[in-house]
Structures are given as C-alpha cells and as structure tokens.
C-alpha cells in the first residue's frame, strides 16, 4: 500500500495543514510519498523530505504551479495514481478545488473532510454542519480523501526522504490564473493560530473590528468573524469561521458579539477553551462556552485590552 499526500504551500514554506494530513496518512498505513507542485519550491520539497514518516518526495516545477488551477493539478496528479492506493490532501480551498476532479477521473467517490481514520477503508466525516458524524466504508479500489487539518496532530520532522523531480504536466489548459488579492496581515493565519478572537453581528460595523485587532495583537491571535458579520459586510469572507468558511480549533477561541448559530459552531466547537462575550445571556454561544461573560462588548473589549 502506498499513499500519496499532496503538499499545501505558498512556494516558500510548507503549510502546517500538510503535517496533519501526514498523520492521517500514517493511520491508513503503508509508504507515504509527498507531492510538491510549485514554482521555485525547492525549499518546500526539502522541508517535505524532512517530515517524519515520509519515504519519498515528488517535486514538480512549472510556471503553471505558481498558483495552480484545478485543471493543472488534475493533469499532474491523476496519471500518478496508477502507482498509488490512496491520495490525501488537506480540506483547504486548494484541496477542495482539485481533489474531486481527480476522484471523478479515477471513477472514485471522494471522502471529504475526514476527522478520523477507522481503518484503511473506513473514515469518519462530519455532515449537517457537524451536527452528525458519519462513518463511511469505501468500496472503491483507490481512495481519494480530503482531511480536516484541525482534527489530526501535526507530524513533526525526523525523516530524510529522497526527492525525485517530475516532469511538469503539459497543457494546454482551458483555465488560467489571472491575479490574486491576498489579505495582508502580520498576524497568524486563522486556521493555524493558537488563539482566535472573532466578532459577530454584535460588532455593529467593520470599523469596530479594530477593538478586536488591538487585543489580537497583544495575544498574538488571529481575527475571525461569523457569517453574519461577513454577510453584513463588516469584514472580508476569508475571516469567516463556520460550516461554509474556515474550521478552526485553537487553544483559545474568543467569540465576541456572536450569538452562536449552528453554522458558526460547526467551525469552532473543537477549540480547547471557548470564551463568549455577549450581552444577551440567552445566546446559544453560552451553551458551548467554557467561560461566558454577559456584558456589552463595547465596554468589555476596552477593559480586556487594558487588562492584558
């Protein structure tokens, strides 16, 4: 049995999500190979080779992999699958984009967003916004799996795998990358932060998010938001924590002015410690919070800022 893990990276550093996928791959068993597709991503390939448990790294270099389209990833990964029994990727926007394409080409039903590996063919995944956990057994010969990174330990270093260069997949492709507008921030990335502070509709405006920014800077936290805050236009969509946004599981999650709709809870209820600050003491968020503070956030936040 040999498992292929698709590395997630920004061409300079390996994303921690990949370490979680390695752990999931170890639970499936067999040799683990990692594919690094990028542009000037030699450093990433070297980092992948050091991952504990990795036997081989495949490194594909091409302009088209600088910000690869699903089409380009599909063209690279699908032919490789002759040699593999399973392919795993993180359930990030990158993995979600190209993995189902690979699955369809292989005539395999993908298993999305797994949170546990029961055996080499049986996996647990959340459905209905995490209100139910479904255990499924795959009858397909090959497995195509995306992994929820927050539910698996991050594999450490300790390996010394060989790196093999692959030829680039050839086009022509019918889709091309045009541009990217990434949020600039000195703070940690939402899904990787140890502390997350999120605002909801109760923040009342985008400007008021600076109250959260100040606290985030003191705590080294990332700033998130509920769907209601995103829908109201307070902050961009990449702040969104929830069923349709990002899933986070930090050491500490501080929910400010968030009522706690089902779809928000789906994105943060695996956090280790949850704090809720809300003036409505009946808000459902208090049912999952370890520490609840019933207070007006416009008073509580400056006080919190002061106290830290």
């Amino acid at each position: 049995m040999t498992v292929l893990v698709i590395a997630e990276h920004d061409n300079s550093a390996l994303n921690d999500a990949t370490r979680a996928v390695i752990t999931a791959a170890k639970k499936i068993g067999g040799d683990i190979h990692v594919l690094v597709a990028g542009k000037d991503a030699g450093g990433v390939a070297e980092a992948a080779a050091k991952l504990d448990g990795v036997a081989k790294v495949l490194h594909a270099e091409a302009d088209v992999f600088a910000s690869p389209t699903a089409e380009a990833m599909d063209a690279l990964v699908t032919p490789l699958m002759d040699d593999y029994d399973a392919v795993l990727s993180a359930a990030t926007t990158m993995g979600k984009n190209f993995m189902p394409r690979v699955a369809a080409r292989l005539d395999v039903m993908q298993i999305s967003d797994i949170t546990a590996v029961e055996s080499a063919d049986t996996f647990v995944r959340p459905v209905y916004a995490g209100n139910a956990m479904m255990t499924v057994k795959s009858k397909d010969a090959k497995k195509v799996i995306t992994v929820r990174p927050t539910t698996f330990e991050k594999a450490g270093d300790g390996g010394s795998a060989s790196v093999e260069d692959l030829g680039a997949s050839s086009g022509p492709f019918k889709s091309e990358f045009v541009s990217e507008e990434l949020s600039e921030s000195d703070r940690p990335e939402l899904t990787q932060a140890k502390i997350v502070i999120s605002g909801g509709r109760g923040m009342q405006s985008g400007d008021n998010f600076h109250l959260l920014d100040k606290i985030a800077d003191k705590l080294g936290a990332a700033v998130g938001a509920s769907r209601a805050a995103v829908d109201a236009g307070f902050v961009p969509n990449d702040y969104q924590v929830g069923q349709t946004g990002k899933v986070v599981a930090p050491e500490l999650y501080i929910a400010v002015g968030i009522s706690g709709a089902i779809q928000h809870l789906a994105g943060m209820k695996d956090s280790k410690v949850i704090v809720a600050i809300n003036k409505d003491e009946e808000a459902p968020i208090f049912q999952v919070a370890d520490y609840g503070l019933v207070a007006d956030l416009f008073q509580a936040l400056p006080e919190l800022d002061e106290a830290l």
């Binding site: 926007t93 999305s112 459905v127 499924v136 019918k174 990449d238 349709t244 990002k246």
Partner: protein, 249 residues
C-alpha cells in the same frame, strides 16, 4: 447562451437535525425542506446573467424524490425557464450526480453550468468539480464574482488567503460562494406563472447512469457534546481564569 443550474432539495438551513437513536442516519420526518442556499445563489446569478442579456435560457435540473419538483418550482418562480426532474428515492452520491448532470449537459449543451459549491446536508463540496472533470471543462469554484464576455468567464474565487481571479474558456462549470449575490424572493404572480412552466420528469436509467453507492454508511452518530462552562462576572475574573485556571494566555 444557455445556462444549466442544478439545484438540490435539502433540510432547511435553520433546522438542527437529530441523529436517529439506531444510528442509521438523521431524522428527516416532518422536517422543513428547502432549496440548498448555495443553489439559490446559483439560480439568482443565472437570472442576473439573463437580465443583463448574457444568457437567453435557464434550465434547472434536480435529482431527488418527487418532492424535488417543489424545489424546481421555486427556481422557476425566481425566473428560470424550464425544469428537469431526475426522479429517484435513492440517495445519490456526488459522483453519480455528476454523471447524471454530464448526461443532461450532453443533451442540453449549455455554455455554463452554474451550481452551488456545497450542499448543506452532506457537506461534500464535490459535484461541480467532478462534473467539470467528466466534461473535460475548466472550472471556477467558490465564486464571489462572475463576468462573462467574448467566450470567456472571469471568475473571482474565495480562497483561504483572500481572493483569486481566474479566466475560463467557455463552456465551463462555475460553483457559487456566499457573497456572489443575495437571492431574490419570488413574487406571487411569478409563483403563479411558474406553475405553468414545463418540468420534464426522467429517471436515472433514462441516462444509462449507474447510481449504486460507493460508500457504505456504517453508522451516523452524535458529535461529542460540549458542556457549557461557567459565567464570569467581570473582565478581571475572565482574565484571571484564562491565566490561572485554563492557562491559555
């Protein structure tokens, strides 16, 4: 230009589903069902493209039980032109849905298939991408902005770090994210009018597609429950607890 919009009938997004005690699934008896929210956004976007003169005809298709006809009627009342119901009482997995949609696409020959990025029941987020692969078409997933001109679609996508823009040659598959638009409510006259719009009913067999399941559901269980903790009286107490009890700051 013709646009095909697949829509799914799912549990209403306000409903908190319960797991059945025998762990065979979730209890859907007497639960309110609606059109999947991302599908509504797809229908809305197709209608806007028609209003702008980019599209001429919008065909909606649903795969599901007889009641999925109501979902199609909702889309027709919003402004779609005609519907196709592929009727089955079986649970159809995304791969089989994609195969059925490929067969419909081969017949209907739309230039764009516009669909939701994810259904809020199985949360799989696969169908659009699988359809694009089966058709050998380019794809623009998680769209927050779509512009169609000169045989090309320019799609702005919601990605983890922000926004990404890609260009697709038509025909193409586009899947919708939340911020693409805000779907309209159907007016009463349009609901009445929708009753006379045609819906063609078919069966999976008509397309020669095997919908046998690839995944066996071993069990469906409750997620681990989180107990509510304590209420603190002040910010000072909160900071103290976080420092000294939880040890997280």
């Amino acid at each position: 230009m013709k646009i095909l919009v697949p829509v799914k009938r799912v549990v209403d997004y306000n409903v908190k589903v319960r797991v059945k005690p025998d762990q065979t699934g979730v209890d859907l008896a007497n639960v309110k069902m609606s059109m999947n929210p991302f599908c509504e956004i797809a229908v809305e976007e197709a209608i806007r493209l028609k209003e702008k003169g980019v599209a001429e005809e919008i065909v909606v298709v649903s795969i599901g039980p007889a009641q999925a006809q109501e979902t199609l009627r909702t889309a027709l009342a919003m402004g779609a032109d005609r519907g196709i119901l592929i009727q089955t009482d079986e649970t159809v997995e995304p791969l089989a849905v994609a195969k059925l949609l490929k067969a419909v696409t081969d017949e209907e020959k739309p230039e764009v298939v516009l669909l939701g990025k994810q259904a809020i029941d199985d949360d799989a987020n696969q169908t659009g991408q699988m359809l694009a692969a089966l058709l050998d078409w380019p794809q623009g997933t998680f769209a927050s902005k779509v512009e169609i001109a000169d045989g090309k679609a320019t799609v702005t996508r919601e990605v983890d770090g922000g926004l990404q823009t890609i260009a697709l040659e038509l025909p193409a598959v586009i899947t919708t994210d939340l911020r693409l638009n805000e779907p309209r409510y159907a007016s009463l006259p349009n609901i009445m009018k929708a009753k006379r719009k045609p819906i063609d009913t078919k069966a999976p067999d008509d397309f020669g597609v095997d919908i046998a399941k690839r995944l066996d559901v071993v069990k469906v269980s409750e997620p681990p429950k989180r107990e509510a903790g304590i209420k603190v009286e002040s910010v000072a107490e909160l900071v103290d607890k976080l420092k000294n009890e939880a040890g997280v700051i």
